[in-house]
Symmetry: C2
Subunit: 323 residues, 2 copies
Protein backbone atom coordinates (compact mmCIF):
# COMPACT_ATOMS: atom_id res chain seq x y z
CA UNK A 1 0.00 0.00 0.00
CA UNK A 2 1.29 3.39 -0.96
CA UNK A 3 0.52 6.97 -0.08
CA UNK A 4 -1.33 9.02 -2.65
CA UNK A 5 1.85 10.97 -3.34
CA UNK A 6 3.69 7.79 -4.24
CA UNK A 7 0.78 6.72 -6.43
CA UNK A 8 0.70 10.08 -8.21
CA UNK A 9 4.37 9.61 -9.07
CA UNK A 10 3.73 6.07 -10.31
CA UNK A 11 0.77 7.08 -12.41
CA UNK A 12 2.56 10.08 -13.88
CA UNK A 13 5.36 7.81 -15.01
CA UNK A 14 2.89 5.41 -16.60
CA UNK A 15 0.92 8.22 -18.25
CA UNK A 16 3.99 9.99 -19.67
CA UNK A 17 3.70 8.06 -22.92
CA UNK A 18 2.93 9.12 -26.48
CA UNK A 19 -0.87 8.79 -26.49
CA UNK A 20 -1.41 9.84 -30.09
CA UNK A 21 0.29 9.57 -33.50
CA UNK A 22 1.84 12.58 -35.28
CA UNK A 23 -0.64 13.13 -38.10
CA UNK A 24 -2.95 14.90 -38.76
CA UNK A 25 -0.77 17.35 -36.85
CA UNK A 26 -3.46 19.86 -35.91
CA UNK A 27 -5.74 17.18 -34.48
CA UNK A 28 -3.11 15.51 -32.34
CA UNK A 29 -1.29 18.67 -31.28
CA UNK A 30 -4.65 19.88 -29.98
CA UNK A 31 -5.14 16.62 -28.09
CA UNK A 32 -1.61 16.68 -26.64
CA UNK A 33 -1.97 20.33 -25.65
CA UNK A 34 -4.51 19.61 -22.91
CA UNK A 35 -2.43 16.73 -21.53
CA UNK A 36 0.65 18.96 -21.37
CA UNK A 37 -1.25 21.53 -19.31
CA UNK A 38 -1.14 18.86 -16.64
CA UNK A 39 -3.33 18.58 -13.57
CA UNK A 40 -3.41 16.97 -10.16
CA UNK A 41 -4.19 13.49 -11.54
CA UNK A 42 -6.49 12.91 -8.56
CA UNK A 43 -8.96 10.72 -10.45
CA UNK A 44 -6.49 8.13 -11.77
CA UNK A 45 -4.87 7.93 -8.34
CA UNK A 46 -8.28 7.24 -6.82
CA UNK A 47 -8.54 4.31 -9.21
CA UNK A 48 -5.18 2.96 -8.07
CA UNK A 49 -6.19 3.45 -4.42
CA UNK A 50 -9.48 1.65 -5.02
CA UNK A 51 -7.46 -1.31 -6.27
CA UNK A 52 -4.97 -1.22 -3.37
CA UNK A 53 -7.76 -1.07 -0.82
CA UNK A 54 -8.49 -4.72 -1.65
CA UNK A 55 -5.41 -6.21 -3.26
CA UNK A 56 -1.98 -5.57 -4.66
CA UNK A 57 -1.76 -3.14 -7.55
CA UNK A 58 -2.77 -4.80 -10.80
CA UNK A 59 -1.42 -3.42 -14.13
CA UNK A 60 -5.05 -3.21 -15.27
CA UNK A 61 -5.60 -0.43 -12.73
CA UNK A 62 -3.14 1.70 -14.69
CA UNK A 63 -5.12 1.11 -17.90
CA UNK A 64 -8.35 2.07 -16.17
CA UNK A 65 -6.65 5.07 -14.52
CA UNK A 66 -5.37 6.24 -17.92
CA UNK A 67 -8.86 5.86 -19.37
CA UNK A 68 -10.25 8.02 -16.57
CA UNK A 69 -7.59 10.71 -16.96
CA UNK A 70 -8.13 10.82 -20.74
CA UNK A 71 -11.87 11.09 -20.21
CA UNK A 72 -11.39 13.93 -17.73
CA UNK A 73 -9.21 15.78 -20.24
CA UNK A 74 -11.76 15.20 -23.00
CA UNK A 75 -14.39 16.92 -20.81
CA UNK A 76 -12.02 19.83 -20.19
CA UNK A 77 -11.51 20.41 -23.93
CA UNK A 78 -15.22 20.36 -24.73
CA UNK A 79 -16.30 22.26 -21.61
CA UNK A 80 -13.83 25.05 -22.39
CA UNK A 81 -15.42 25.44 -25.85
CA UNK A 82 -18.90 25.66 -24.30
CA UNK A 83 -17.74 28.07 -21.58
CA UNK A 84 -15.73 30.10 -24.11
CA UNK A 85 -12.89 29.93 -21.57
CA UNK A 86 -9.65 31.57 -22.76
CA UNK A 87 -7.41 30.05 -20.07
CA UNK A 88 -6.99 26.84 -18.08
CA UNK A 89 -4.35 26.69 -15.35
CA UNK A 90 -2.99 29.94 -16.74
CA UNK A 91 -2.40 28.45 -20.20
CA UNK A 92 -4.45 29.11 -23.37
CA UNK A 93 -7.25 26.57 -23.86
CA UNK A 94 -7.25 24.11 -26.77
CA UNK A 95 -9.88 25.92 -28.84
CA UNK A 96 -8.09 29.23 -28.30
CA UNK A 97 -4.89 27.84 -29.82
CA UNK A 98 -6.25 25.40 -32.42
CA UNK A 99 -9.79 26.62 -33.13
CA UNK A 100 -13.18 25.08 -32.35
CA UNK A 101 -13.03 22.42 -35.06
CA UNK A 102 -9.75 20.85 -33.94
CA UNK A 103 -10.89 21.21 -30.32
CA UNK A 104 -14.15 19.34 -30.92
CA UNK A 105 -12.37 16.63 -32.94
CA UNK A 106 -9.46 16.22 -30.54
CA UNK A 107 -11.95 15.75 -27.71
CA UNK A 108 -13.78 13.15 -29.80
CA UNK A 109 -10.56 11.28 -30.55
CA UNK A 110 -9.61 11.38 -26.88
CA UNK A 111 -12.99 9.92 -25.90
CA UNK A 112 -12.54 7.09 -28.40
CA UNK A 113 -9.02 6.49 -27.00
CA UNK A 114 -10.53 6.06 -23.51
CA UNK A 115 -12.03 2.81 -24.74
CA UNK A 116 -8.71 1.63 -26.20
CA UNK A 117 -7.43 1.73 -22.64
CA UNK A 118 -10.53 0.00 -21.24
CA UNK A 119 -10.06 -2.64 -23.94
CA UNK A 120 -6.71 -3.67 -22.45
CA UNK A 121 -8.06 -5.01 -19.15
CA UNK A 122 -8.72 -8.60 -18.26
CA UNK A 123 -11.87 -9.87 -19.99
CA UNK A 124 -13.22 -11.24 -16.71
CA UNK A 125 -14.21 -7.78 -15.48
CA UNK A 126 -14.13 -5.72 -18.68
CA UNK A 127 -17.91 -5.58 -19.08
CA UNK A 128 -18.41 -4.46 -15.49
CA UNK A 129 -15.71 -1.78 -15.87
CA UNK A 130 -17.29 -0.38 -19.04
CA UNK A 131 -20.74 -0.43 -17.43
CA UNK A 132 -19.61 1.49 -14.35
CA UNK A 133 -17.43 3.86 -16.37
CA UNK A 134 -20.15 4.60 -18.93
CA UNK A 135 -22.74 5.38 -16.28
CA UNK A 136 -20.42 8.00 -14.82
CA UNK A 137 -19.40 9.31 -18.25
CA UNK A 138 -23.00 9.90 -19.28
CA UNK A 139 -23.73 11.55 -15.93
CA UNK A 140 -20.80 13.94 -16.38
CA UNK A 141 -22.32 15.05 -19.71
CA UNK A 142 -25.73 15.40 -18.05
CA UNK A 143 -24.16 17.49 -15.29
CA UNK A 144 -22.55 19.79 -17.84
CA UNK A 145 -25.89 20.19 -19.65
CA UNK A 146 -27.68 21.02 -16.37
CA UNK A 147 -24.96 23.52 -15.50
CA UNK A 148 -25.45 25.19 -18.88
CA UNK A 149 -29.24 25.15 -18.34
CA UNK A 150 -28.73 26.92 -14.98
CA UNK A 151 -26.78 29.67 -16.80
CA UNK A 152 -30.07 30.91 -18.21
CA UNK A 153 -31.61 31.22 -14.73
CA UNK A 154 -31.17 33.87 -12.05
CA UNK A 155 -29.53 32.52 -8.85
CA UNK A 156 -32.76 32.88 -6.89
CA UNK A 157 -34.54 30.68 -9.45
CA UNK A 158 -32.18 27.71 -8.98
CA UNK A 159 -33.48 25.00 -6.69
CA UNK A 160 -30.81 24.09 -4.12
CA UNK A 161 -31.32 20.32 -4.33
CA UNK A 162 -31.15 20.42 -8.11
CA UNK A 163 -27.92 22.37 -7.80
CA UNK A 164 -26.42 19.74 -5.46
CA UNK A 165 -27.52 17.08 -7.94
CA UNK A 166 -25.84 18.95 -10.81
CA UNK A 167 -22.58 19.40 -8.88
CA UNK A 168 -22.67 15.73 -7.97
CA UNK A 169 -22.99 14.72 -11.62
CA UNK A 170 -20.53 17.24 -12.95
CA UNK A 171 -17.75 16.80 -10.43
CA UNK A 172 -18.30 13.89 -8.05
CA UNK A 173 -19.53 10.85 -9.94
CA UNK A 174 -16.24 10.54 -11.82
CA UNK A 175 -14.27 10.61 -8.55
CA UNK A 176 -16.63 7.98 -7.16
CA UNK A 177 -16.48 5.82 -10.28
CA UNK A 178 -12.67 6.06 -10.33
CA UNK A 179 -12.57 4.47 -6.89
CA UNK A 180 -15.09 1.84 -7.91
CA UNK A 181 -13.21 0.86 -11.06
CA UNK A 182 -10.14 0.27 -8.92
CA UNK A 183 -12.20 -1.74 -6.46
CA UNK A 184 -13.55 -3.96 -9.24
CA UNK A 185 -10.02 -4.68 -10.43
CA UNK A 186 -8.94 -5.32 -6.84
CA UNK A 187 -11.76 -7.80 -6.35
CA UNK A 188 -13.84 -5.80 -3.86
CA UNK A 189 -17.37 -7.12 -3.24
CA UNK A 190 -20.44 -5.34 -4.62
CA UNK A 191 -21.29 -3.99 -1.16
CA UNK A 192 -17.79 -2.67 -0.62
CA UNK A 193 -17.84 -1.13 -4.07
CA UNK A 194 -21.04 0.72 -3.24
CA UNK A 195 -19.67 2.14 -0.01
CA UNK A 196 -16.48 3.20 -1.74
CA UNK A 197 -18.50 4.88 -4.49
CA UNK A 198 -20.59 6.75 -1.90
CA UNK A 199 -17.42 7.77 -0.05
CA UNK A 200 -16.04 9.30 -3.27
CA UNK A 201 -19.27 11.03 -4.18
CA UNK A 202 -19.65 12.67 -0.76
CA UNK A 203 -15.99 13.73 -0.64
CA UNK A 204 -16.49 15.33 -4.06
CA UNK A 205 -19.45 17.41 -2.95
CA UNK A 206 -17.77 18.40 0.34
CA UNK A 207 -14.74 19.46 -1.69
CA UNK A 208 -16.87 21.63 -3.97
CA UNK A 209 -18.56 23.33 -1.01
CA UNK A 210 -15.13 23.99 0.47
CA UNK A 211 -13.92 25.35 -2.86
CA UNK A 212 -16.78 27.83 -2.97
CA UNK A 213 -16.21 28.72 0.69
CA UNK A 214 -12.49 29.34 0.27
CA UNK A 215 -13.04 31.46 -2.80
CA UNK A 216 -15.16 33.78 -0.67
CA UNK A 217 -13.68 33.50 2.83
CA UNK A 218 -10.29 31.86 2.39
CA UNK A 219 -6.94 33.53 2.92
CA UNK A 220 -5.98 34.57 -0.63
CA UNK A 221 -2.29 34.04 0.15
CA UNK A 222 -2.83 30.46 1.30
CA UNK A 223 -5.51 29.69 -1.30
CA UNK A 224 -3.54 31.13 -4.21
CA UNK A 225 -6.54 32.71 -5.90
CA UNK A 226 -8.03 36.20 -5.92
CA UNK A 227 -10.50 36.48 -3.04
CA UNK A 228 -14.09 36.70 -4.25
CA UNK A 229 -13.30 35.66 -7.83
CA UNK A 230 -16.64 33.79 -7.99
CA UNK A 231 -18.46 36.87 -6.67
CA UNK A 232 -16.90 39.13 -9.28
CA UNK A 233 -17.85 36.60 -12.00
CA UNK A 234 -21.44 36.35 -10.65
CA UNK A 235 -20.85 32.61 -10.48
CA UNK A 236 -23.57 30.43 -9.08
CA UNK A 237 -22.08 28.86 -5.97
CA UNK A 238 -23.36 26.98 -2.94
CA UNK A 239 -23.01 30.23 -0.97
CA UNK A 240 -24.91 32.46 -3.37
CA UNK A 241 -27.78 30.02 -3.87
CA UNK A 242 -28.14 29.40 -0.14
CA UNK A 243 -27.97 33.14 0.57
CA UNK A 244 -31.13 33.63 -1.45
CA UNK A 245 -32.80 31.09 0.86
CA UNK A 246 -31.45 32.50 4.13
CA UNK A 247 -31.57 36.26 3.51
CA UNK A 248 -34.42 38.61 4.34
CA UNK A 249 -36.10 40.62 1.59
CA UNK A 250 -33.91 43.70 2.02
CA UNK A 251 -30.74 41.59 1.80
CA UNK A 252 -32.09 39.77 -1.25
CA UNK A 253 -32.82 43.06 -2.98
CA UNK A 254 -29.29 44.27 -2.22
CA UNK A 255 -27.78 40.98 -3.51
CA UNK A 256 -29.75 41.26 -6.75
CA UNK A 257 -28.65 44.86 -7.20
CA UNK A 258 -25.03 43.84 -6.59
CA UNK A 259 -25.28 40.99 -9.13
CA UNK A 260 -26.56 43.46 -11.70
CA UNK A 261 -23.72 45.93 -11.16
CA UNK A 262 -19.99 46.03 -10.53
CA UNK A 263 -19.23 48.52 -7.75
CA UNK A 264 -15.61 48.71 -6.54
CA UNK A 265 -16.61 47.22 -3.17
CA UNK A 266 -18.77 44.42 -4.66
CA UNK A 267 -16.87 41.55 -3.01
CA UNK A 268 -16.83 43.22 0.39
CA UNK A 269 -20.57 44.01 0.28
CA UNK A 270 -21.59 40.54 -0.90
CA UNK A 271 -19.42 38.96 1.80
CA UNK A 272 -21.07 41.20 4.42
CA UNK A 273 -24.50 39.90 3.32
CA UNK A 274 -23.19 36.31 3.35
CA UNK A 275 -21.97 36.82 6.91
CA UNK A 276 -25.11 38.64 8.04
CA UNK A 277 -27.32 35.77 6.90
CA UNK A 278 -24.80 33.23 8.22
CA UNK A 279 -24.11 31.53 4.91
CA UNK A 280 -20.51 31.07 6.03
CA UNK A 281 -21.57 29.07 9.10
CA UNK A 282 -24.07 27.11 7.03
CA UNK A 283 -21.36 26.19 4.47
CA UNK A 284 -19.04 24.92 7.22
CA UNK A 285 -21.84 22.70 8.53
CA UNK A 286 -22.86 21.57 5.05
CA UNK A 287 -19.29 20.59 4.22
CA UNK A 288 -19.14 18.72 7.53
CA UNK A 289 -22.41 16.95 6.73
CA UNK A 290 -21.05 15.55 3.44
CA UNK A 291 -17.66 14.79 5.01
CA UNK A 292 -19.29 12.82 7.81
CA UNK A 293 -21.38 10.90 5.31
CA UNK A 294 -18.22 10.13 3.32
CA UNK A 295 -16.29 8.80 6.30
CA UNK A 296 -19.26 6.81 7.51
CA UNK A 297 -19.27 4.95 4.17
CA UNK A 298 -15.51 4.44 4.36
CA UNK A 299 -16.01 3.00 7.84
CA UNK A 300 -18.42 0.41 6.51
CA UNK A 301 -16.03 -1.05 3.96
CA UNK A 302 -15.12 -4.50 5.21
CA UNK A 303 -11.35 -4.48 5.00
CA UNK A 304 -8.72 -4.09 7.71
CA UNK A 305 -8.77 -0.53 8.87
CA UNK A 306 -5.09 0.12 8.13
CA UNK A 307 -5.79 -0.46 4.41
CA UNK A 308 -8.03 2.60 4.53
CA UNK A 309 -5.26 4.91 5.75
CA UNK A 310 -4.17 6.21 2.31
CA UNK A 311 -7.78 7.08 1.42
CA UNK A 312 -8.27 8.85 4.76
CA UNK A 313 -5.04 10.72 4.21
CA UNK A 314 -6.12 11.83 0.73
CA UNK A 315 -9.59 12.91 1.89
CA UNK A 316 -8.07 14.83 4.81
CA UNK A 317 -5.70 16.51 2.37
CA UNK A 318 -8.46 17.39 -0.12
CA UNK A 319 -10.82 18.56 2.59
CA UNK A 320 -8.10 20.51 4.33
CA UNK A 321 -8.75 18.80 7.65
CA UNK A 322 -6.42 18.98 10.60
CA UNK A 323 -5.38 15.45 11.47
CA UNK B 1 -29.66 -15.03 -46.09
CA UNK B 2 -31.65 -11.94 -46.75
CA UNK B 3 -31.60 -9.11 -49.25
CA UNK B 4 -30.38 -5.76 -48.03
CA UNK B 5 -33.93 -4.44 -48.19
CA UNK B 6 -35.11 -7.14 -45.79
CA UNK B 7 -32.16 -6.41 -43.51
CA UNK B 8 -32.89 -2.67 -43.52
CA UNK B 9 -36.42 -3.46 -42.38
CA UNK B 10 -35.13 -5.78 -39.64
CA UNK B 11 -32.56 -3.29 -38.42
CA UNK B 12 -35.02 -0.41 -38.43
CA UNK B 13 -37.34 -2.42 -36.24
CA UNK B 14 -34.50 -3.21 -33.81
CA UNK B 15 -33.26 0.40 -33.79
CA UNK B 16 -36.70 1.92 -33.20
CA UNK B 17 -36.20 1.87 -29.45
CA UNK B 18 -35.85 4.60 -26.86
CA UNK B 19 -32.08 5.12 -26.90
CA UNK B 20 -31.97 7.84 -24.24
CA UNK B 21 -33.75 8.85 -21.02
CA UNK B 22 -35.99 11.93 -20.78
CA UNK B 23 -33.84 14.24 -18.70
CA UNK B 24 -31.98 16.56 -19.07
CA UNK B 25 -34.53 17.31 -21.79
CA UNK B 26 -32.39 19.57 -23.94
CA UNK B 27 -29.52 17.10 -24.07
CA UNK B 28 -31.60 14.10 -25.03
CA UNK B 29 -34.00 15.92 -27.36
CA UNK B 30 -30.91 17.06 -29.25
CA UNK B 31 -29.64 13.48 -29.41
CA UNK B 32 -33.02 12.11 -30.52
CA UNK B 33 -33.40 14.85 -33.13
CA UNK B 34 -30.63 13.48 -35.34
CA UNK B 35 -31.97 9.93 -35.09
CA UNK B 36 -35.42 11.12 -36.11
CA UNK B 37 -34.01 12.76 -39.24
CA UNK B 38 -33.42 9.19 -40.33
CA UNK B 39 -31.06 7.97 -43.03
CA UNK B 40 -30.45 5.01 -45.27
CA UNK B 41 -29.02 2.85 -42.45
CA UNK B 42 -26.50 1.44 -44.94
CA UNK B 43 -23.71 0.96 -42.36
CA UNK B 44 -25.65 -1.16 -39.86
CA UNK B 45 -27.01 -3.27 -42.69
CA UNK B 46 -23.45 -3.86 -43.91
CA UNK B 47 -22.70 -5.20 -40.45
CA UNK B 48 -25.64 -7.61 -40.63
CA UNK B 49 -24.56 -8.68 -44.12
CA UNK B 50 -20.99 -9.24 -42.93
CA UNK B 51 -22.42 -11.62 -40.33
CA UNK B 52 -24.71 -13.42 -42.81
CA UNK B 53 -21.87 -13.91 -45.26
CA UNK B 54 -20.43 -16.49 -42.85
CA UNK B 55 -23.21 -17.66 -40.57
CA UNK B 56 -26.78 -17.19 -39.44
CA UNK B 57 -27.66 -13.77 -38.03
CA UNK B 58 -26.50 -13.48 -34.43
CA UNK B 59 -28.28 -11.01 -32.08
CA UNK B 60 -24.84 -9.53 -31.37
CA UNK B 61 -24.76 -8.23 -34.95
CA UNK B 62 -27.73 -6.01 -34.08
CA UNK B 63 -25.83 -4.59 -31.09
CA UNK B 64 -22.79 -3.89 -33.25
CA UNK B 65 -24.99 -2.46 -36.00
CA UNK B 66 -26.68 -0.13 -33.49
CA UNK B 67 -23.27 0.97 -32.23
CA UNK B 68 -22.22 1.81 -35.79
CA UNK B 69 -25.40 3.73 -36.56
CA UNK B 70 -25.11 5.70 -33.30
CA UNK B 71 -21.48 6.48 -34.11
CA UNK B 72 -22.41 7.65 -37.60
CA UNK B 73 -25.08 9.95 -36.14
CA UNK B 74 -22.60 11.30 -33.57
CA UNK B 75 -20.30 12.30 -36.46
CA UNK B 76 -23.19 13.99 -38.24
CA UNK B 77 -24.01 16.14 -35.19
CA UNK B 78 -20.41 17.26 -34.66
CA UNK B 79 -19.60 17.66 -38.38
CA UNK B 80 -22.65 19.88 -38.86
CA UNK B 81 -21.36 22.17 -36.08
CA UNK B 82 -17.93 22.38 -37.74
CA UNK B 83 -19.43 22.91 -41.20
CA UNK B 84 -21.95 25.42 -39.82
CA UNK B 85 -24.55 23.48 -41.81
CA UNK B 86 -28.12 24.75 -41.37
CA UNK B 87 -29.85 21.72 -42.89
CA UNK B 88 -29.48 17.95 -43.13
CA UNK B 89 -31.88 15.98 -45.32
CA UNK B 90 -33.96 19.13 -45.55
CA UNK B 91 -34.41 19.35 -41.75
CA UNK B 92 -32.71 21.84 -39.40
CA UNK B 93 -29.46 20.49 -37.94
CA UNK B 94 -29.11 19.74 -34.21
CA UNK B 95 -27.03 22.81 -33.36
CA UNK B 96 -29.45 25.03 -35.31
CA UNK B 97 -32.35 23.88 -33.15
CA UNK B 98 -30.65 23.28 -29.77
CA UNK B 99 -27.49 25.41 -29.93
CA UNK B 100 -23.83 24.44 -30.07
CA UNK B 101 -23.55 23.41 -26.40
CA UNK B 102 -26.35 20.83 -26.48
CA UNK B 103 -25.12 19.69 -29.91
CA UNK B 104 -21.57 19.05 -28.69
CA UNK B 105 -22.84 17.31 -25.54
CA UNK B 106 -25.47 15.21 -27.30
CA UNK B 107 -22.79 14.01 -29.70
CA UNK B 108 -20.57 13.15 -26.73
CA UNK B 109 -23.35 11.21 -25.01
CA UNK B 110 -24.11 9.38 -28.25
CA UNK B 111 -20.45 8.38 -28.61
CA UNK B 112 -20.43 7.03 -25.04
CA UNK B 113 -23.65 5.12 -25.81
CA UNK B 114 -21.90 3.44 -28.76
CA UNK B 115 -19.81 1.54 -26.22
CA UNK B 116 -22.87 0.51 -24.21
CA UNK B 117 -23.97 -1.34 -27.32
CA UNK B 118 -20.50 -2.82 -27.90
CA UNK B 119 -20.54 -3.91 -24.27
CA UNK B 120 -23.51 -6.20 -24.92
CA UNK B 121 -21.74 -8.60 -27.27
CA UNK B 122 -20.28 -11.98 -26.40
CA UNK B 123 -17.04 -11.57 -24.45
CA UNK B 124 -15.26 -14.01 -26.77
CA UNK B 125 -14.96 -11.40 -29.54
CA UNK B 126 -15.64 -8.16 -27.67
CA UNK B 127 -11.99 -7.03 -27.59
CA UNK B 128 -11.55 -7.67 -31.30
CA UNK B 129 -14.77 -5.76 -32.09
CA UNK B 130 -13.71 -2.74 -30.03
CA UNK B 131 -10.23 -2.80 -31.62
CA UNK B 132 -11.59 -2.85 -35.18
CA UNK B 133 -14.31 -0.33 -34.39
CA UNK B 134 -11.95 2.08 -32.62
CA UNK B 135 -9.45 2.06 -35.46
CA UNK B 136 -12.19 3.12 -37.86
CA UNK B 137 -13.66 5.63 -35.40
CA UNK B 138 -10.32 7.39 -34.97
CA UNK B 139 -9.78 7.39 -38.74
CA UNK B 140 -13.16 9.03 -39.31
CA UNK B 141 -12.09 11.86 -36.97
CA UNK B 142 -8.75 12.10 -38.78
CA UNK B 143 -10.56 12.26 -42.13
CA UNK B 144 -12.77 15.09 -40.87
CA UNK B 145 -9.69 16.99 -39.64
CA UNK B 146 -7.94 16.54 -43.02
CA UNK B 147 -11.08 17.69 -44.81
CA UNK B 148 -11.14 20.82 -42.64
CA UNK B 149 -7.40 21.33 -43.30
CA UNK B 150 -8.09 21.18 -47.07
CA UNK B 151 -10.65 23.96 -46.66
CA UNK B 152 -7.77 26.37 -46.16
CA UNK B 153 -6.13 25.34 -49.45
CA UNK B 154 -6.95 26.24 -53.06
CA UNK B 155 -8.09 23.23 -55.13
CA UNK B 156 -4.89 23.30 -57.19
CA UNK B 157 -2.86 22.99 -53.98
CA UNK B 158 -4.52 19.74 -52.88
CA UNK B 159 -2.56 16.60 -53.72
CA UNK B 160 -4.84 14.07 -55.41
CA UNK B 161 -3.56 11.04 -53.47
CA UNK B 162 -3.97 12.87 -50.17
CA UNK B 163 -7.51 13.72 -51.19
CA UNK B 164 -8.29 10.05 -51.94
CA UNK B 165 -6.80 9.17 -48.57
CA UNK B 166 -8.99 11.75 -46.83
CA UNK B 167 -12.15 10.55 -48.58
CA UNK B 168 -11.25 7.00 -47.66
CA UNK B 169 -10.93 7.92 -43.98
CA UNK B 170 -13.94 10.19 -43.87
CA UNK B 171 -16.41 8.04 -45.73
CA UNK B 172 -15.14 4.53 -46.49
CA UNK B 173 -13.40 3.07 -43.45
CA UNK B 174 -16.64 3.00 -41.47
CA UNK B 175 -18.40 1.12 -44.29
CA UNK B 176 -15.47 -1.30 -44.40
CA UNK B 177 -15.34 -1.72 -40.62
CA UNK B 178 -19.11 -2.29 -40.49
CA UNK B 179 -18.68 -5.29 -42.77
CA UNK B 180 -15.72 -6.54 -40.76
CA UNK B 181 -17.53 -6.28 -37.42
CA UNK B 182 -20.27 -8.44 -38.87
CA UNK B 183 -17.69 -10.90 -40.21
CA UNK B 184 -16.06 -11.20 -36.78
CA UNK B 185 -19.43 -12.00 -35.21
CA UNK B 186 -20.16 -14.47 -38.03
CA UNK B 187 -16.85 -16.24 -37.43
CA UNK B 188 -15.10 -15.24 -40.69
CA UNK B 189 -11.34 -15.93 -40.78
CA UNK B 190 -8.79 -13.09 -40.57
CA UNK B 191 -8.05 -13.39 -44.28
CA UNK B 192 -11.71 -13.26 -45.22
CA UNK B 193 -12.20 -10.30 -42.89
CA UNK B 194 -9.42 -8.42 -44.66
CA UNK B 195 -10.88 -9.01 -48.11
CA UNK B 196 -14.31 -7.98 -46.90
CA UNK B 197 -12.85 -4.81 -45.39
CA UNK B 198 -11.06 -4.00 -48.66
CA UNK B 199 -14.27 -4.65 -50.60
CA UNK B 200 -16.10 -2.12 -48.40
CA UNK B 201 -13.36 0.48 -48.60
CA UNK B 202 -13.17 0.35 -52.40
CA UNK B 203 -16.95 0.42 -52.81
CA UNK B 204 -16.98 3.52 -50.58
CA UNK B 205 -14.47 5.39 -52.70
CA UNK B 206 -16.14 4.34 -55.96
CA UNK B 207 -19.44 5.56 -54.52
CA UNK B 208 -17.92 8.94 -53.65
CA UNK B 209 -16.48 9.37 -57.15
CA UNK B 210 -19.89 8.52 -58.59
CA UNK B 211 -21.53 11.00 -56.21
CA UNK B 212 -19.25 13.77 -57.45
CA UNK B 213 -19.80 12.71 -61.06
CA UNK B 214 -23.59 12.65 -60.79
CA UNK B 215 -23.66 16.03 -59.12
CA UNK B 216 -21.95 17.43 -62.21
CA UNK B 217 -23.15 15.25 -65.07
CA UNK B 218 -26.13 13.34 -63.73
CA UNK B 219 -29.72 13.81 -64.83
CA UNK B 220 -31.10 16.16 -62.14
CA UNK B 221 -34.53 14.55 -62.39
CA UNK B 222 -33.19 11.07 -61.74
CA UNK B 223 -30.57 12.20 -59.21
CA UNK B 224 -32.94 14.42 -57.24
CA UNK B 225 -30.43 17.20 -56.67
CA UNK B 226 -29.70 20.50 -58.35
CA UNK B 227 -27.20 19.92 -61.14
CA UNK B 228 -23.80 21.44 -60.38
CA UNK B 229 -24.52 22.05 -56.67
CA UNK B 230 -20.90 21.22 -55.84
CA UNK B 231 -19.67 23.61 -58.55
CA UNK B 232 -21.82 26.46 -57.24
CA UNK B 233 -20.50 25.77 -53.70
CA UNK B 234 -16.88 25.67 -54.96
CA UNK B 235 -16.69 22.27 -53.32
CA UNK B 236 -13.49 20.30 -53.66
CA UNK B 237 -14.47 17.17 -55.55
CA UNK B 238 -12.66 14.41 -57.40
CA UNK B 239 -13.57 16.19 -60.65
CA UNK B 240 -12.29 19.62 -59.70
CA UNK B 241 -9.01 18.37 -58.24
CA UNK B 242 -8.32 16.16 -61.26
CA UNK B 243 -9.25 18.97 -63.64
CA UNK B 244 -6.37 21.02 -62.24
CA UNK B 245 -4.08 18.10 -63.17
CA UNK B 246 -5.51 17.48 -66.64
CA UNK B 247 -6.19 21.01 -67.88
CA UNK B 248 -3.85 23.21 -69.87
CA UNK B 249 -2.75 26.58 -68.51
CA UNK B 250 -5.51 28.56 -70.24
CA UNK B 251 -8.20 26.21 -68.88
CA UNK B 252 -6.67 26.38 -65.39
CA UNK B 253 -6.73 30.16 -65.49
CA UNK B 254 -10.38 30.10 -66.54
CA UNK B 255 -11.24 27.60 -63.77
CA UNK B 256 -9.56 29.76 -61.15
CA UNK B 257 -11.39 32.83 -62.41
CA UNK B 258 -14.70 30.93 -62.26
CA UNK B 259 -14.02 29.74 -58.70
CA UNK B 260 -13.39 33.33 -57.67
CA UNK B 261 -16.66 34.59 -59.15
CA UNK B 262 -20.30 33.61 -59.57
CA UNK B 263 -21.41 34.28 -63.15
CA UNK B 264 -24.90 33.10 -64.12
CA UNK B 265 -23.43 30.46 -66.45
CA UNK B 266 -20.82 29.20 -63.92
CA UNK B 267 -22.01 25.57 -63.91
CA UNK B 268 -22.20 25.40 -67.70
CA UNK B 269 -18.72 26.89 -68.15
CA UNK B 270 -17.07 24.68 -65.52
CA UNK B 271 -18.71 21.61 -67.04
CA UNK B 272 -17.41 22.62 -70.48
CA UNK B 273 -13.86 22.77 -69.10
CA UNK B 274 -14.40 19.40 -67.35
CA UNK B 275 -15.50 17.88 -70.67
CA UNK B 276 -12.75 19.57 -72.67
CA UNK B 277 -10.05 18.12 -70.43
CA UNK B 278 -11.92 14.82 -70.25
CA UNK B 279 -12.43 14.77 -66.50
CA UNK B 280 -15.79 13.08 -67.09
CA UNK B 281 -14.18 10.16 -68.90
CA UNK B 282 -11.44 9.98 -66.29
CA UNK B 283 -14.04 9.83 -63.46
CA UNK B 284 -15.88 6.97 -65.16
CA UNK B 285 -12.62 5.04 -65.40
CA UNK B 286 -11.58 5.90 -61.85
CA UNK B 287 -14.90 4.71 -60.49
CA UNK B 288 -14.49 1.52 -62.53
CA UNK B 289 -10.97 1.07 -61.15
CA UNK B 290 -12.17 1.13 -57.52
CA UNK B 291 -15.24 -0.96 -58.38
CA UNK B 292 -13.07 -3.62 -60.00
CA UNK B 293 -10.77 -3.65 -56.99
CA UNK B 294 -13.78 -4.04 -54.72
CA UNK B 295 -15.23 -6.99 -56.62
CA UNK B 296 -11.86 -8.65 -56.90
CA UNK B 297 -11.62 -8.66 -53.08
CA UNK B 298 -15.18 -9.99 -52.81
CA UNK B 299 -14.21 -12.75 -55.23
CA UNK B 300 -11.36 -13.83 -52.95
CA UNK B 301 -13.53 -14.38 -49.89
CA UNK B 302 -13.62 -18.11 -49.34
CA UNK B 303 -17.32 -18.79 -48.96
CA UNK B 304 -19.82 -20.30 -51.40
CA UNK B 305 -20.47 -17.79 -54.11
CA UNK B 306 -24.24 -17.66 -53.56
CA UNK B 307 -23.64 -16.27 -50.06
CA UNK B 308 -22.09 -13.22 -51.72
CA UNK B 309 -25.22 -12.40 -53.72
CA UNK B 310 -26.75 -9.91 -51.26
CA UNK B 311 -23.44 -7.97 -51.07
CA UNK B 312 -23.17 -7.92 -54.86
CA UNK B 313 -26.74 -6.74 -55.09
CA UNK B 314 -26.11 -3.92 -52.60
CA UNK B 315 -22.88 -2.82 -54.32
CA UNK B 316 -24.61 -2.85 -57.70
CA UNK B 317 -27.42 -0.78 -56.23
CA UNK B 318 -25.05 1.71 -54.58
CA UNK B 319 -22.84 1.95 -57.65
CA UNK B 320 -25.81 2.24 -59.94
CA UNK B 321 -24.65 -0.64 -62.11
CA UNK B 322 -26.80 -2.35 -64.70
CA UNK B 323 -27.03 -6.01 -63.81
Amino acid sequence: MQSFKELIAQFSQHFAQQHFPEEPAKLYKAASHILEIGGKRIRPVLCLMGNELFDELNPDAFHAASAIELFHNFTLIHDDIMDKAPLRRGKPTVHTVYGDTAAILSGDVMLITVYDRLNKVNAKYQKKLITVFNKAAVEVCEGQQLDMDFEDLQPEEVDYDKYVNMIGLKTSVLLAASLQLGAIIGGGSEGNQEHLYAFGKNVGIAFQIQDDYLDAFGDPEKFGKQQGGDILANKKTFLLLKAFELCNDAQKAELKALLASNPADKVERVLRIFRDCKVDKWAEKEKERFTTAAFSHLEKIAVLSNRKEPLKELADFLLNRQQ
